[in-house]
Amino acid sequence: MAASQANSNIGMSGKRKRKQASPNPPVPQIMKQGAFVPWLYLLPALAVMTFFIVYPMINTIGLSFMNSDGTASAATTCRDGQPCWGVFENYRYALTDEFNTSSPAALWKSFWSSSYGNTIKWIVVMVFGTVTVGLAFAVLADRVKYEALAKAVLFMPMAISFVGAGVIWKFVYDYGTSQTQIGLLNSIITSLGGRPVAWLSTIPINTFMIVIVGIWIWSGFCMTILAAALKSVPDEIIEAARVDGAAEWTVFWKIIVPIILPTITVVVTTMVINVLKLFDLVYVMTGGNFKTDVIANRMYTEMYKNFNVGRGTAVAVILVVAIIPFIYLNIKRFLEQEASR
């Protein structure tokens, strides 16, 4: 306890110092000892990452221009009378196959039930949901005595494997055909006199029902990070505003949010990456049926159910390309911070 207390004191004093001496170069001169030493420290990390991530990624990009088992160019998979993009044939399939291009209206409709449309729904709803719940809960739990317990409850779903989560939500979404509903949600609805709903096969609510499970799992993560950020907002500033007669709502929006905005950016970025990579939930709950497919699950389907390595890898490359803008935002934020340090 004493040790961590001391740490935080050091941290605070250091932070203040930095603010006063802002035009300093990022690294003190004295610490530039040799050009070789830094690479020693980087070596283990660079080695494992090159081997486990970079090399397979290059391999993947190569395979995405090949046919289903990687033995010939993708151009050979074109069929007569069908559109063909040559060696980019897998990309044509990945980008256009789900869309109905007969009319703009049909295209619009088919886009929103495709894996791309669903992934966008996921990003918007899930990121908004987790960050909102996480932030609201962090702010409110800060003011109650049972804070630790409350946060543990919100964090708990993170400790549950996807298999477990699948079973858990079966007992929430279950749709029974007899009078007895063993699903909690439908039981509540029928006891209020309503008709039970088949949550996971009714389009379009089914996608949102799976997103809710995602929010349930990941809100704890956002809450934890945001709660930590909130604790760093100096009490003096908030108290000063309150003394000036600002309403709690104003204090929150005008003082707290601006201060923790960098953290919110971090959380949003991390969540977007998570959502784009997330396929387990869809796989466990609907298997991508009933127009709930997402890009990551489609990649899995092409790779391991249809055994089309070329198409699967093409979807993967598209997935990676889709994430790059968010990574760019993240890095930009870093550069700005480093510059002002």
Binding site: A2, A3, S4, S68, Y283, N289, Y304, K305, N308
Partner: protein, 437 residues
Amino acid sequence: MKNKSIFWSMTSIVALVALLLTACGPTATEAPATQAPSTGGSEIDCAGAKSGDEISMLYQWSGVEEAALNQVLKPLLDACGIVLKPESTRDQALLDTRVQAGTPPDVAFWQVAQLVQYKDKLQAMDALGADSSSYSDFFLAPVTIDGKWLGLPIKADVKSIIWYSPSNFETLGYKVPTTWDELDALVEKMAADGNVPWSMGFESGDATGWTGTDFVQDIMLVQQGPGFVNGILDGSVSYADPGVKQAYETYGKWAMSDKYTVGGAQGTLSTPFLEAIYKPFADPPEAMLVKQSGFAGGEIAKQFSNLKQGADYDFFVVPSIQGLQGSVEPMMAFADTPAVRALVKYLSSAQGGANWAAATFGLSPNKGAAGNYTDAALQKLGDAIASTSGFTTDIGDTIPGGFGSAEFQGISEFVNGGDLDSILAGLAAKQAEGLKK
């Protein structure tokens, strides 16, 4: 400093773990030994396998199924001293990764579609010493790819059967139909009586929909016959053929109305297939009939321990069907070792078939199984197979290239109100692509 001590104690824990590991190494899971039927091990041909030889195998069975498989293999292991290194998973990614990486298991029990997919990497069964005289031709046909016998038919099931409750039928005055028209009339009569005729359930995780395509294929066998279905399998009949559409429409009439099926379309889509099996046998019964493969008998027995086969639950073959629809699960071999040869010889021998039957682990395509079933329902199914005029495999399991999962999705979409013509057109394209040489 306290923090520091945590750091170093973590280090020492890791060091300790590493030490323990080098000391004892990973402990292999031994397949649990199970009581073997008293067939005597003397006749088993070990094919030169020595005691301690290992076979790595990969299969989708687990729980009770895995225990049954161990029971079948026990006499071989005892006689030859072969050691099993089994892995059980339903994730196709595992098998595919193993094969792609050049480290396949010695043998795998998977679907017929994988025989096509891995045809260049598999060992021919006759070269391994399998006895083809143990199997009917219609079981050998689906596991023979490009003229090579690549899979040992290991486990079969009959899909074209309908389960019902004889005691409920008797009480309500219903008779088992003998023609399709009688079945249709019976369904109408039940609906008119206020008894829901069918229990249907699609939900099955990422394979949701397979119970529907099974049903549709049976209807095709009734309306069009086995030649039509085999045409779909080899590509000479398009999946967009009017005959396919007719079968879907016949099915849709039942599957999408709450007059004919429990819960209507949403009930069909959302009910897990296992739950659907239970509904006609629950009390009070929610439905009268459920069309499901032979394995349903075992599931009913497990769920309702006080029900008796023959009196409380039984099945009849889909009436007017021309030939049976069934599934064959093959064993494929990636390696040619004495132990694998011994395994292949044992499983294709009369004794292997008999032991499979005795383990109550579904049907064995092996002729040696006949008469050795200890389970009455299995015996009856075995008789149905023995007397059938023909046998067609499941369309979705057989056409490679992801047709199966597309077909499951397609029927789910259809029951959910999708446009049938465009669904079938999409599936026909998948069919053409999957069958392209």
